[in-house]
Chain length 601, copies 2
Amino acid sequence: MNHADLLERTHYCTEITHLEPGTTIRVAGWVRKRRDLGNLVFIDLYDRSGILQVVFDPVRNPDLVVLAQEMKRESVLTVEGTISMRPDEAVNQSMKTGRIELIASRVKLHSTSRVPPFHLIGDQEVNEELRLKYRYLDLRRSEMFRILSVRHQTYQVVRKFYSDNGFIEVTTPHLIRSTPEGARDFLVPSRLYPGRCYALPQSPQILKQILMIGGVDRYFQIVKCFRDEDSRADRQPEFSQIDVEMSFVTRDTLFRIHEELMAVVYREVLGIEIQTPFPRMTYSDALVDYGSDKPDIRFDLKLRDATDVLAGSGYQLTEDAIRNGGGVRGVVYPGGAGLSRKQIGDLERIVRSRGPGGLITFKTGDGGELTGSPLGKHLEPERRLQLVQRFDARPGDLICLAAGGFEETAWALGDLRLEIARRGNMTGDSLKFLWVIDFPLFEYVPQESRYQAMHHPFTAPLAQDENLLDSNPALCRAQAYDLVLNGVELGGGSVRIFREDLQCRIFKALGLTKQEAENRFGFFLEALRYGTPPHCGIAFGMDRLIMMLAGTDNLRDVIAFPKTLQAACLLTNAPSPATSEQMKMLGLKSLIENSGKKETT
Amino acid sequence: MNHADLLERTHYCTEITHLEPGTTIRVAGWVRKRRDLGNLVFIDLYDRSGILQVVFDPVRNPDLVVLAQEMKRESVLTVEGTISMRPDEAVNQSMKTGRIELIASRVKLHSTSRVPPFHLIGDQEVNEELRLKYRYLDLRRSEMFRILSVRHQTYQVVRKFYSDNGFIEVTTPHLIRSTPEGARDFLVPSRLYPGRCYALPQSPQILKQILMIGGVDRYFQIVKCFRDEDSRADRQPEFSQIDVEMSFVTRDTLFRIHEELMAVVYREVLGIEIQTPFPRMTYSDALVDYGSDKPDIRFDLKLRDATDVLAGSGYQLTEDAIRNGGGVRGVVYPGGAGLSRKQIGDLERIVRSRGPGGLITFKTGDGGELTGSPLGKHLEPERRLQLVQRFDARPGDLICLAAGGFEETAWALGDLRLEIARRGNMTGDSLKFLWVIDFPLFEYVPQESRYQAMHHPFTAPLAQDENLLDSNPALCRAQAYDLVLNGVELGGGSVRIFREDLQCRIFKALGLTKQEAENRFGFFLEALRYGTPPHCGIAFGMDRLIMMLAGTDNLRDVIAFPKTLQAACLLTNAPSPATSEQMKMLGLKSLIENSGKKETT
């Protein structure tokens, strides 16, 4: 018995536990499963709120039972019925609606479903390609809706926070001028100007600075940005960014506001109180102590320098490193003395992949004696004692040393430190925020024999380092900062250059001729000449933040319609071949054979 | 005397009127103008909140006066000083801070400015190209910040409204599959898949429907959309859209929710109460009565059919029209009898541009007599009386008639009606919302000898018209609707097709072969097979809505960085030539000579 007027629900499936038994309601959703007990049919109906058991009773409504018996999984229904308490033996404590059920009186079957290609219940691993191809089925899983909700809520909380703090949301364009720098722009060929292209923004950086020059004073936006990079596990070609810029404030004010933002987000979205202010650490200290520009400070395990202890030992690996201006540094692996040769080999591979020639390991014995490395033979007892003390090594620990240049040993041991913590479950469930500050302004690109901006070319140098710009750019530090949470970079920003002369010096240091700087950034240099306020800003990776909040480690899970690592959409099969008509209209010709087909496939 | 520590303001310039005189504050902003009175210097300092007068007094602070005397317009300052009441004769009632001034004690000059290319004060007309090229200066005008604020506030209010009503904000991708239909897609060539392209979304239509299939139930998003159309005065190549989709609800529920949305927006942003519910009018009635699919109902002036009155008059123009299946329809111009021949000629041009061969006008005299048209001679006194009565014409009015087919006379007289209202200032300042419903499902494209979807191909037909799909598509009405405010289309939507078989029939009616439908929309047809709920949706033009709220008639004024009618950005000079390297990386070759330059210019 179908009823044409049965469409709208009065309640979501699980939002009825406060109602009196006997209340008539309407729910709408999908059939998760069906159980036939002779004539009596039970259907688990679900919507985004969860599951409700619907009972089809042959005594009260024989026609409905026939319908219910034929009901396929994932069919779509609106059901009218009365709420009833379950008999004691049928109570299901693990369900929100486990004490009640709905006795169906009227039903409308809106549509049926083919058999889904994977199970929508439970946590079983489903092939991700299948999930992405049938994303609409994947989204019906309660875990996916939970993540969508966290995302939704985070968006609202973030915007309200900025709005409450006097920031103005400004929408910046997506079809902008290409100013190639670092990562690659996606280009959008223009039809009205054949041969010309727009670019999709890698960030609204210049435009938000122009908003500051325009007196907007405090700007924010959660905005899509685009990077045509080769795929990495934690990147998508398009991503969402919390984008912020402020005038007339110091870095410390920006820090204070964003510590408060994080506190509000964690409080409102998860009900968790976090501690502010956040500690700060220079990039230099981060590299020395943690071998990372985004230290995970949930555990200690600091790196230690043992160069002085080992200098002059006569052991070739370490002596070579020291002679070449490097040194020997290390980290202790608590309880690592029992590792097998294979396990230590795994650790060594981590170290080697960053450059150092090998990993030197000492097991600390019960009496503090060191065994396990040929280096040991070269060390007098006193030096061996110093080594144990340097690493606060206890009986049963493993001292891990790497020899080489500062940078390579730092990054190698930083990776090793994370692996040791991972194996030892040292992270716990705490939230450790950290500002990393005073990044280098430039990094040298040996392949191109030139410097490039570590953050971006609009970052101001530290005032006391400005004189290094021409003499020794490598040593020049920037007023740049990152916010790190549990070893994950949430975002970063900088105090910007607001003087045209300084901006020109930076472009020069980056190897741009005056003409090149003018061609690429002339409109921005012009803008700087008309009264630019001191300003600074920051941007956060929204997808990354939501991953942290939702407690997932798959970036694609926090995006409704993500792309694969190969930048493809498996649901819609994008990108697709352009038609030759489309290409012709853009004044373009594909150099690929047979790509410009008449019809897309 | 500069002070390095002078950066942050304690207050915005105009947010100090509640403070006690003698209070020390810091403000930061731009120099609007300077007046030297001998040694005493006055500076108008402004920030986004408005203007404050700052006084530099040679007695208290001689060094500052020297600085102030050299201060150029649009220089950027932080000023510390004490609030003082102005002497009575210096009070300026038209300024928020007109009773006070700030006696400067410390000043930091952050940067100076070249002479701006146009005045930033007052309402004088500035060449728009200049405004767009120097947008950062244009944005400093208080009117532009007011509009940005309205935009900001509207975004927050709209999102909070949906969020409060159980809608989930979901971000949909910008790099999607091209499904060319109607307006043109912007294409984004893929580097990883040479010869293939993504498209920028014209709307997230299919994806939001897939969210419904995915159980999201209520979705919203304010999202950038893109259309590569030839320029029109009220279109931008990229625009912002409030995008909404709902499952398990009737059209009436969607209407009620969006009437409430409009009420909340007007209340929260402008403090204006509007009346709900909104009246509804079928597309057919709108065309008959107002000659428009978006009637402005702030004034009456309904179109009237006079075919029966004029039939058989023997006047060739009207007789031909009637014989060809058309008719004679008209509208009255109140008080229009006094129009000159030239003025009537202007009206006739409006009518002719829509197709009808001419405009027939009768002036109504004091005794109700009609003069002015050769048609008059063909009418007996009784018919003339009928004509006057048909149009409720009063002495001094002008009856305007057009003869021809229904559609052409309707649109022509609709335009004429708007022009009459404009000349007569009949609109007042009321807000008249209107739902236009029951649009035709298809419109015929004579050039292509086929039907195309009037809204889009996912729109459901009216249930009672479904049988017309194959027999007489032109008569088939759609469950489509527009929301109109004061004759401006704010948005539109429809109840969607949720059955695969019906969707296939629509594709067929649109002239797509089974293979073409599968190639373009196969993934969507597949999705419809897995349990699709009944759903409907709507989208609003955010830029248009903000224009209405801000009371401006220039679409570019509500967009921070708009493009010209020729789709160019005058600030950054986009689009720009792609470098040959960039093109090569995309596997593309430009067919335009010299366009792939080595360096962008």
